[in-house]
Amino acid sequence: MVATLLSAAPSGIPEPFLRAESTLGKFMLMFFAIAFFAAVFGLVLFLASLFKGRTGEKAQGAIFAAPAVLLLAVGLMYPAILTIIQSLRGKSGDGSFSFANYSAMFTQPELLTVLRNTALWVILVPFLATAIGLLYAILIDRARGEAFAKALIFLPMAISMVGASIIWKFVYQYKQTDRPQIGLLNQILKVFGFETRQFLLDAPVNTLMLIIVMVWIQAGFAMTILSAAIKAIPDDIIEAARLDGVYGLRMFRYITLPSIRAALVVVLTTIGIGTLKVFDIVRTMTAGQFETSVVANEFYNQSFRYDAPGLGAAMAVLLFVLVIPIVTYNIVQMRKEA
């Protein structure tokens, strides 16, 4: 499929197949694309069915896997390698080879702030979201209206981070203290007699304010998985513990917590990885200004706004490198369980 696309001349694709102005045109383009992809799909199957017999079946396997494998090779592996190379070729990404971008990351004050913020995010978000999710899962377990109570916490998972950012930006909205407030948080400050604040402008509080948004989104995920894990603890273990005289918080400490360990690891690492790549929230609420930038946002800014694609590439590589220990930890823990 990639081959088909590549063989088409760069400028040879007629405009109507690329873009459409009218609503009808857009939908026609969409259906054309689906039909086109289906045709490619059918072609692959047809090609595969041409191979017969025992050896032919092996060829069929390779053909079935080919579109996905090729697409990944051309669309993910190859670009990743290009990015790594670019990150080693200076700020512009096309100079001579050096580690300048990486040393800049650890020396330039504003980039150090980016690293510090990222660390804050990756530490605070997983633990806060998991703690709140776990607490809530326990509190509402088997309570009346459990499903509804869960939906309330879970709903933020369904909406976009952009939407979540708008919701919270409004909560943080600033007006001078003597004027009527429209942001809820400043209204509360005012009610208690404090000065209102510019929550999104004042560092380092502003980073914490952004972190709250991510916690707000992720707590529902933690709650859902942990709640399921709690419900999966076999009754007989709980009954046996009860016969042994274990109740209350000790039940939680000695039975519940060890039983949901695997789920906790999954939740923490999953949220950790998601947090590392957080972009939408920072971009929508502050655009990374006022010392709130994080690695994923800095990648975008360096690449597209500050015209430093080499440094941007180094940021992307850094993301990749930071994901590895979290994934490794996850795998090691899973191995232990198994």
């Binding site: 017969k52 017999g53 025992r54 050896t55 079946e57």
Partner: protein, 400 residues
Amino acid sequence: MLTTTADTDVGGFPLYNGSSGTFLPVKEGNDAMATVKFDEATRVYPGNDTPSVDRLNIDIQDGEFLVLVGPSGCGKSTSLRMLAGLEEVNGGKIWIGDRDVTNLSPKDRDVAMVFQNYALYPHMSVADNMGFALKIAGVDKGEIRKRVEEAAKILDLTQYLDRKPKALSGGQRQRVAMGRAIVRSPQVFLMDEPLSNLDAKLRVQTRTQIASLQRRLGVTTVYVTHDQTEAMTMGDRIAVLKDGILQQCATPREMYDSPANVFVAGFIGSPAMNLVSVPVADGGVKFGSHTLPVERDSLAGGGSNVIVGVRPEDVEVGNEGDGLELTVDVVEELGADAYVYGTPTDDAIKLEGGDDSLVKPFIARVDGRRVPMKGEKIWVQPNSSHMHVFNAESGARLSH
């Protein structure tokens, strides 16, 4: 005519439906002789040194019911799957009729298979499950419907045709799996332990029914089981495998009366044959206080010891001092007769087939009205006309 009564609850299936007089069109459209031939067929799994099936040679006649039997891991299922095309053949050839199918896909072999777990398609109704192969083959809908209904009638599944497999009992699922095979009228039926998921009672009933159904349809059948009783009761011939090597291929009677080696002797028959290692003596072999007469030329190939095999029903309990002395450990009363489990008082005499931790008892069938007490001493000897002698080294049969 072989008939059984329709007994829906326990899974009986009448072979012949009296009211309509229909039964399946057998081997419609392929009159070729459906013989099956394993010719030095060998399977080596990647990463293994020893073959899982080692140069297997079996000729199966058209319409024959052949049972492959052996302990787990003996290669019986692998052999069947090689015939089905689900397993590669690394050496030798496999023939169905006069076609060399060694390198054909399963779909081109014209065989139908009944799997251990039935492998019914969970998302299809019973009728769709049975008709799936015909649909793929492009048979027209009316014809499919007709053949499925006929098969359903035979298997007493008519009322379940629209159900999903999930809504059926184990016995019913088993019959659907059978139905899926017979609807196709294939050249060969392959059955891989099809009864192992049924409870004991249903298994006994179904095994008779499968055997008689096969005889009625006359389709060449290869049947895999680890259960020697199933093998004995169902097969026209039995092939016993061990460690990928064919031990013996013969009719149940031959297999029982003259097992080719110690392994087959111990495997076929229940309770198992007693196998005792004894010294060779002048004019025969020494069995306790007796010398059992054995033809000289039978012993020619053996060493100083041979293995004597005697089935429990061929054991004679004699007078004190006659033969081998046993201490009675357990007596199993069966009514008409009883099985006596004893240990030779002479520690030097070991029974084959046991291991160090577990001493294998000597088993004798005795008259149910003259049963020894536990702890009593008895003297036994083989009925010399039903005695088997094997080479102690190779295990091969020495007597004729």
